[in-house]
């Protein structure tokens, strides 16, 4: 085997690869925001007094958690146009990531909410806070603080999952690297470098979450 590694195409493609890293970041952050909204909304509905609503959330969570993301993103990609919504691959990928991450977030946040003693809520109501205030300040925030480590690892996983969005050619690192690979045929060199990029991205994500946690969950609560 006389194969010499040649990183020239990688070096030449470096600007577009680095910009694509930003694309991955944007995709991941938007996906996480949507996942958080779905997660919190889902937990509220999951606690609802209306049984069919609870069942709906439970089936949604189990359906998403037990099917591959790749199948989900294909399904959404083909299903959206039928409902009359025409979107580019990248927004479609954000929706798919949000739905997928949201299902996991519901389970994680629910665990946190259940760990808050009932007396805490009653104490809040007794102090004359609104129901909304009680939920936001006395239930949700301590719950999020308690489950933040699990949420962090789930969201780092979501960041890595963005690579699958390349299957519908959303703008992110993997799809750009596939383009460089098919232009240069330097497959190993390209994918090896991009793997290192992902390692840095997931490390940065973890740092970001640690910073967020230190700022937002620092006690005393204001």
């Amino acid at each position: 085997m006389n194969y010499t590694l040649d990183f020239t195409p990688v070096v030449e493609g470096l600007p577009s690869l680095l910009t694509a890293c930003l694309g991955t970041f944007a995709l991941a952050i938007c996906g996480m925001l949507l996942a958080t909204v779905i997660g919190i909304g889902g937990v509220v509905l999951r606690q609802s007094k209306i049984a069919p609503l609870r069942w709906l959330i439970i089936s949604f969570v189990e359906l998403i958690r037990n099917t591959p993301f790749l199948v989900q993103i294909f399904f959404i990609y083909f299903a959206l146009p039928l409902t009359g919504i025409r979107l580019d691959p990248t927004p479609t990928a954000i929706i798919a990531l949000g739905i997928n991450g949201g299902a996991y977030a519901i389970e994680i946040i629910r665990g946190g909410v259940q760990s808050i003693p009932k007396g805490q809520m009653e104490a809040g109501l007794a102090l004359g806070l609104h129901k909304g205030q009680v939920f936001r300040l006395i239930i949700l925030k301590p719950a999020l603080k308690a489950i933040f480590p699990s949420l962090t690892s789930q969201f780092v996983l979501l960041t890595l999952t963005t690579s699958i969005a390349s299957a519908i050619s959303a703008y992110e690192l993997t799809s750009v690297s596939q383009r460089i690979e098919s232009d240069s045929f330097r497959s190993f060199e390209v994918y090896f470098t991009v793997t290192i990029f992902y390692l840095v991205i997931s490390w940065l994500m973890m740092r970001l979450f640690a910073l967020f946690s230190a700022r937002y969950f620092a006690y005393p609560v204001k």
Partner: protein
Amino acid sequence: MGRDEFLFLLLGLKWTVALSAIGFVSGCLAGLAIALLRTSGIRPVERATAGYIALFQGTPLLMQLFVVYYGLALIGIKMDAWAAVAVGLTLHASAYLGEIWRGGIEAVPRGQTEASKALALSYASRMKDVILPQALRISLPATIGFLVQLIKGTSLASIVGFTELTRAGNIISNQIFQPLTVFGIVGMLYFIMCCPLTIYGAYLERKFAASAR
């Protein structure tokens, strides 16, 4: 969608099951080695395995499959897409299972290790007869959780070009132009495989939590 198309999907399903089984079994063996090295008490070895685990947990499975697929060809090992994917999934599984079982091994109280040392058990016997049975029991729910992840992960083999369930779905969907029906059915097939495992994992978790109380 006709009968032939559905049978083609089932053919893909067979490969998904085979890939999952091979990835899981060989991943378990390699993962056990990783877990033992990670808790060996020898600093450089522990560091190296920690790095190995961080590498696989910090990069997308899709990239791991790409690197293994093209990397193996590079060092002169000619392999089918299928074998390369199996190797990739094995490495991936070994890192995740190694980390899960490290947690299990460390969760076994230290006194157990001390007691078996006091009884002059050899390292092999201490691990095989005392520590691992308890550690694996503790980590069984997480292990099953990872098996579900792995089954879903095999879908990425389709991007590398191996015809398993998802790629079979892609092919059929391109033929009959009913992507929603096809991917709906493909999704249900994955669901039928994964859901019982998820339920069983949750049941074990509840059972262990109750017995720990």
